[in-house]
Each structure stands twice: as C-alpha cells, then as structure tokens.
C-alpha cells in the first residue's frame, strides 16, 4: 500500500570517516545534525520529530539515545530511537511524515570506534549458548555467507573480486586517499583484505519533509521517497539459506510495488548497495532484480555496473571504501538522495532522475531494506 503523505529528503550530511579526535561523541553528533539542517536550509525549530539510531555496545552506553538527545536537538521535542539498524531510523522517520501528523523529521546515526574490540562488541550480539563460543563476529558471519555463495555459484569468486575492484576504483575517484588493506592472506576465509576495509568512525544525518512544507519553503533540491521496503531474516544462521537474500527480495517487492516499478534492471540511473563484502553486493544484485546470478561475472567485469555503465553501483566507493559499521546502511540512502539532489560531490553522476538504495546490516545481512528515491514526486 502507498503512503498517505509522500515524504522527501530535503537535507543530508554524510561523514563516512571522521579522523580528527578533537571532538567528543556528543560534539560529533551535534556537528552532524547541524550540517544536515544547514543543508536543508532549516533550523532545529522547524523540526517536528527526531529518530536516531546507534549501537549501545559501540557507544559504551546502556541507552544511546539519552546522550544524543541534547546534541540532536531532542530536548522539548519528540524523539525516538531504532537501535536495530541505522536505516530503520530513516524508515520510522519516513513513516511519521507519511502519517500526515509530522511535517519534518531529523534522522541521525553514528558509529564510533573507541571500543577496545569491535569484534568482541559484535560477538555480544550472538546467542550466548550456541554461537558466542565459536567465536562469531559480523565478518565471520559474512565469510560463512561468502563460502556458501562460492559453493553454490563457482564463478562467484571472480565476480566478487571484480566487484571489489570496481568499488575501489569508485572510491579513489570519490575521496582523496581512501585506505587499502594490504596484509597477506584471508581475514576470514574466503574474505581477502582487498574485499573489505577496517572500521572507521563516521556519522550521517538526513532531513525528511512533507510536500506542504517543501512547497511552503520553496525547496527545490529534494529527493522524493517513491518506494520503501524492509524485512528481516530469521534469528539463527543455521535456519537460513545463506546462498540467497530472501528478506531483501521481500523488501524489494514492497518498495517496487509502491514505486510502480516492474522492470528494476532498467528503472534506475544508479544504485548504492551495502557491500559489507562483495559477496553481499552480488546477492543484492539478484534479490533487487538488478542482475541475475548467471550474469554476475559478466556484468561485474564488463563495466555494466561501473561509472559509464548501464547501472553504476556504489559510485561512493561503498562500504569497501569507508566502513563506519553501524551507519553504513543509512549512508547508502543518503548517497542516493544526494545524487538525485545534485549534491554528491566528486562522484556526482549527471542528471540522476531515480536511484535505488540498499541497506543491510547484522550477521550475514540479517536486516535488509530497499528505498527508491526520485527527482519526481511520483514514480
């Protein structure tokens, strides 16, 4: 079903890496929120509601929203938090605008790296009896999925290497001196260092608004939310078929139905996909109906999915370039919104009319979401 009121993105700030150590977490969140409001051309006084998303274990807090409430402008304002995923904050913000009861929403997510071990913090998210002792972290889960995909599709490894090379090339064009992992050997078999990058501190914020607010303010650089879908895989890895992404397929069906998209492979000018590993990107191609697995290797190597190809994927360089772990999903949505708004910076593609954002997170991408954003209000 469609939304009662169609939301649009009117402001974004993407800070995929914050290298300077001169700001506290609260100050970093404040900076991020203020930059997004400035990008939208509004102030906090124009904001009806706020949704934030962060990970308590990464933040070293029991309830992260508490500390963030002041920096994002939450005092004396309606604020909620979705700690399940950064992209879930966008979803709840969009739903709130869609009710017609809110004219604007500020959505903020962040991911610090001050914890002594990201892997240990992630390991706390496993079942304490069966999985925690393995030990299992998110990269291990991604690696188990990659192994399953390689076994099911023998040409997947070559395709994954080509996807990684594509995203690195995009990253070099988008950012000055992105990091490259050079250590020998696999990080977790079969994930090679060149297929991922180390976690960094980062943050992202977006501002959503209703059509009447956009008209009243005369806002022009907006990205309309034409369709939105999200879904989850089951709790245990052993209950899942890791060689496919059925929750993402379900999310895509929901998003495409709302947006009226019947041929996804030709519907978009670009896509941003959560490439926690290149295998995750390959599975997303299939689940989003962008490229069937029989064509993975061909399209990953012939430039179809690179800048200049039929459907450029991850012109930002993706997660392979910058990996602020918890907020990578929301960054994908913000990247597509900025491409449509003509504000993507060095990796801007000319004349983007419609784009697709895929956000995934959790162990072997348990949570999946797809957003269709466009220059026009209706698809």
């Amino acid at each position: 079903m469609g939304m009662r009121v169609q939301p649009a993105v009117i402001g974004c700030t993407i800070r995929p890496v914050i290298a300077a150590r001169d700001r506290s977490l609260e100050e970093m969140i404040y900076d991020t929120a203020q930059l997004a409001l400035a990008d939208a051309g509004i102030t906090i006084e124009d904001v009806d509601g706020i949704v934030v998303a962060a990970n308590d274990q990464f933040d070293g807090r029991s309830i992260s929203v508490m500390m963030a409430s002041g920096p994002v402008g939450g005092v004396d304002r309606d604020i909620m938090s979705t700690p399940s995923a950064s992209e879930h904050a966008f979803i709840l913000g969009a739903l709130r605008v869609a009710t017609g009861q809110f004219r604007t929403q500020l959505v903020v997510s962040w991911s610090p790296t001050e914890t002594s071990s990201m892997a240990e913090a992630q390991r706390l998210g496993t079942d304490p009896y069966f999985h925690r002792g393995l030990p299992l972290d998110e990269l291990s889960a991604h690696a188990l999925q990659a192994s399953a995909v390689e076994r099911a599709e023998p040409r997947a490894r070559a395709a994954a290497e080509a996807v990684a090379e594509k995203n690195r090339a995009h990253g070099r064009a988008a950012w000055p001196n992105p990091p490259v992992q050079t250590q020998p050997g696999p990080l977790r078999w079969p994930i090679m260092p060149t297929m991922t990058t180390a976690p960094v501190t980062g943050s992202v914020a977006m501002v959503l608004a209703a059509p009447d607010f956009i008209a009243e303010r005369g806002l022009r650089d907006v990205a309309w939310l034409q369709g939105m879908g999200w879904a989850t895989e089951p709790s245990f890895l052993g209950d899942r078929d890791l060689t496919s992404a059925p929750a993402l397929a379900a999310a895509a069906r929901q998003a495409y139905a709302t947006a009226g998209i019947t041929d996804p492979a030709s519907a978009f000018d670009l896509a941003e996909v959560t490439d926690a590993t290149p295998y995750a990107e390959l599975l997303a191609y299939e689940a989003l109906s962008l490229c069937p697995r029989v064509d993975w290797q061909a399209q990953a190597t012939d430039g179809s999915l690179a800048r200049g190809g039929r459907l450029p994927v991850n012109l930002s360089g993706g997660v392979l370039t910058w990996n602020p772990v918890f907020c990578t999903g929301l960054i994908r949505v913000a990247e597509v919104a900025n491409q449509i708004r003509g504000r993507a910076g060095a990796h801007q593609l000319p004349n983007v009319r419609r784009g697709l954002a895929h956000a995934g997170s959790g162990f072997a991408m348990q949570y999946q979401a797809a957003m269709v954003l466009g220059r026009e209000a209706r698809a």
Binding site: Q57, G70, I79, P83, S84, G229, T232, Q254
Partner: protein
Amino acid sequence: MSGDRVGIIGIGQSEFCSRRDDASYPELVREGVVRAMQDANLDFDAIEAVVYSLSPDAMIGIGNAERLGVDAVGGRNKPFLRINNGGATGISAVAAAYYHVASGMFDVVLTAGADKIGECGDSQTILNKIWDPSYERPLPLGTINMLAMSAVRYMQRYGMTEEDMARVTVKNRRHASLNPKAHLRRIVSIEDVLASRLISWPIKLMDCCPQSSGGAAMVLASEKFIRGNHLDAVWITGVGHSAETYWMGDRMGNNPTAEHADAYALGRSFEKSYRMAGVTDPARQVHVAELYAPFSNTEFHSIDAARLVSRPGESVARLRDGEFDIGGKIPVNPSGGTLCTNAIAVTAMARVAEVALQVWGRAGEHQVEGARLGIASGNGGDHQIFGTMVIEA
C-alpha cells in the same frame, strides 16, 4: 469519526514474576505474542509488520537481542524494527506500530517484547551505565537515587511526606491484588511501607518497583481492516512524545531548565496527546489512567503532568482523599502499575494495554466502571524521554 483511525485488536501479557526459569528470552517474547494473536483471533499471515520492544540490551546480556526474537514474533521476511527509548520503550513501540498503520502502508501490525529483569543480576549496575562515563557514573547514579532527589525536591516544593509516598504503594498494591498479571500482589499498610528497608532516602524498599520477568504484545489495525472484518477494537486517538535534558545537574540548582521535582516533558507529551485527541479538560474527560511510576513519589508528579489535578502538588491531597483509587474520581494505575510490575522492555506497553482493556470493559476484577477514555504514559532514560497516549472505546 473519520475512517482513518488506528485500533487495538489484540492484547497479550504474561503473569509477571521475579523469575521464569522455564522460559528462555525468546520463549517469553513468544508467550505475549501467542496471547495477543489469540486475543485478536488472527493467523500470523495477517501480520504485515512487526515493531520490537526492547530497552537496554544489557538487561538481557545479548547485544541487539531483538535479532534473537525475530522467530518468536513471526518476523521472517517481514518488515521488522526495534524501538529503545529506555523505560518508555513499550509505549514508544506501540506508537511506532501506530505510525506504521497511520502511514497508510500497513493494515495490521504486531508489537511485542519481553524482559527478564529479575534474572539480570543487578539492574542498578546496568542502569548506572546510562549516564555519562566521566561525570555521573562515578557518583554513583542509579535510577533509585536519581528519583530520590526528585522526591526530596517534591517534598520541599509541595509538602509531600513519606506517609504520602506510602499511600501510593498501599493503593497500588490493593489494585494489584485484583490483577492476576501483576507481580507484587500482597496488600500492605502504610506502616509496612514506612518500616521497610531504606534504599535511598526518602525511598524505601516498598516505595520501589520490583524487577520483573514477562512478555507483552499488542496487535494494531487500520479502521478499514477492523470494519471490513467486523472486529472489536478500541482506538488510539492521541499520541505524543517529549524529552528533557540528559544532564541531572541541569534539572536542579538555581535555574534548572526543567525542575527535577516535576515531570516537565511528560506534561509536554500529554499536551500533544490531548490536542490530537481533542481532550481539553483532562480532569473531567479522563476516566482512567495508567501512569508509568516506578517509585511511589513519581506517581504524584505524573498525575500533575497529566493535568488530572488543577495545579502541581494537588495530587498529594487528592490521593489522600482516595480520588485515584478504583471507585474514586479518576482511578490511577488500577492494574497496580509499574510500582507492582516492572519488566522494563514492556512496562510502558503494559500501561497502554491496561488502559485499552479498561476502555474495552475487559479488565476483569480491576475494571473501572464506565471507563470510556483513558490515558497511558511511559518514562525513559534518566526520567528524560516520555511517551503518552489517549485510548478511547
């Protein structure tokens, strides 16, 4: 009324208690879900999306423990997200489910969760970690001494006594004795409360909520679905949230941004809910209230903030007169409230559920006669984030 309302069509709650050694965390979630689904008389195929209600992960001992609850709520391949607004989480989760339906995207949404506070070891050690690591954790702050400071300020400003606090416990325990879902159901006297162990003056053991284990779930649906399927429902007509400062020091001192004796943001949240529901005179229009008050003293400023009395502090005298008892003018916490049951992840959901049962006329022994409009609230963080609702028959 318009045809775009959002209704409650199913409610499930555990019988809350200190320990549930017979049920794992997901099994406890499942318990509430099964009961809500039976109450709604729906199959899981009818559920289009799920909102998961879970406050601090550390209470369960599993990071992002909602991931382990996906199967318990039947969430596979369905839209699913989690809310955490601290103690307000339960009402915020119902609000999020409400937004799912009110957006027009969904007709039927499930919200569910559970907690095992009684089995977490020491909730105050965990709750100390909600504060700033450098300035406030080492004091050491916990939720009890935080609200003891509120009690002292309320005493000074409005004349509340320790006996007045005890009267809240006596009332709520009497109410809980009528509610088979409540955790602490033994009737106590003012003398019992005053003689109970001092925890953080003026709060004594019987002024405190218990650490409860149990699950809860609710099914919400669009008015179109409810009418089309000839279902019985009660309606969410007002929803609001508001927050105040994180910093305790900014609520005390000479020029506080929001006085810690009161519940400023709770009042602001109720303003939003009342405006949306068209409630202009709550003291006359509200028939029943379930107000999140984990310590006896906090029920007073919650009643004040809900404007069930004409001025702050008047709640003390009104409570002495029995106006908030079952059978009184506006019964407050007829279920026994948070003071008698606190499984944090779903405590504020239980407030909504209990008000819904009241206006539905299905509350059983603790039914408030003639209740047609009720209010619910939830408090989260360091008495910081507040959610409120108006529920009508």
